[in-house]
Amino acid sequence: MLVLSRKIGEVITIGNSIKITILSYDRGIVRVGIEAPKDIPVHRKEVYDRIIELNRQATQVTPEALRGSLGSLQQAPKSKETTPL
């Protein structure tokens, strides 16, 4: 891992399209500004990890197990907003 020391307001560039600015530091919290092209998603890692874990869990769900957990959804009248697929 490359380790760099930066002061408030200083910038790190990654490639020629990503800029990371250190905005502030207060009581253990660093605020970072990130400029990146739209096609490079930027996420907090714990959110990203949680979504991967939820996707994995979703593959373990069976129709039989799920049908008992749908409650009133199953009697919901078909509305126009249900997916047309």
């Binding site: 998603p41 996420h43 959110v47 990203y48 949680r50 979504i51 991967i52 874990e53 939820l54 996707n55 994995r56 869990q57 979703a58 593959t59 373990q60 769900v61 069976t62 129709p63 039989e64 197990a65 799920l66 049908r67 957990s69 749908l70 409650g71 009133s72 959804l73 199953q74 919901a76 078909k78 509305s79 907003e81 249900t82 997916t83 047309p84 697929l85």
Partner: protein, 154 residues
């Protein structure tokens, strides 16, 4: 528009026969799918980046929940639901607001407290291009574990 070819080559005959594939799934038995209904996910799903082709499967047992089934690994499927059934004013973002084109779906999981929906990381199906992607909505507006038991309150 095409360069003129010296010899008359017959146009390849476009067979109009539908391309149908048979998938053997664990959950739904053997199913037949039409290739034109396959959605291509260029980036896969988070944690499943190698899965590129999916179809939506209906199962009477779980309607209105449908199943996003991997064509390449038919043993893998994800229960999905229209987020509008949970939150009427749901929005995946301005760029996906064309509802003629984009259909959002949220993935469900089953925990000890019942089923929850991942409202923060919806799947967006583009019915114009038959492509799909899973996105993460950056704002804190939507939960990764929205309980189904509180649905229809709005």
């Amino acid at each position: 528009m095409e360069s003129t070819t010296p010899t008359a080559t017959p146009m390849p005959v476009q067979t109009s026969a539908m391309s149908i594939r048979k998938l053997t799934t664990e959950q739904f038995g053997e199913i037949l799918i039409e290739e034109r209904f396959i959605f291509t996910f260029p980036n896969g799903l988070f944690g499943f980046e190698d899965l590129r082709e999916f179809v939506i499967v209906r199962d009477e047992r779980t309607e209105p929940v449908r199943w996003l089934l991997s064509v390449e690994h038919p043993e893998l499927s994800f229960p999905v639901l229209s987020p509008y059934l949970l939150q009427r004013d749901y929005s995946a973002g301005k760029e996906y607001s064309d509802c003629q084109r984009y259909t959002p779906l949220v993935i469900l999981t089953l925990g000890s407290g019942g089923a929850t929906a991942n409202m923060k990381a919806p799947i967006l199906l583009d019915v114009q291009t038959q492509r799909g992607e899973q996105i993460i909505i950056p704002s804190d507006k939507y939960s990764t574990s929205y309980p189904l038991s509180v649905q229809q309150s709005r």
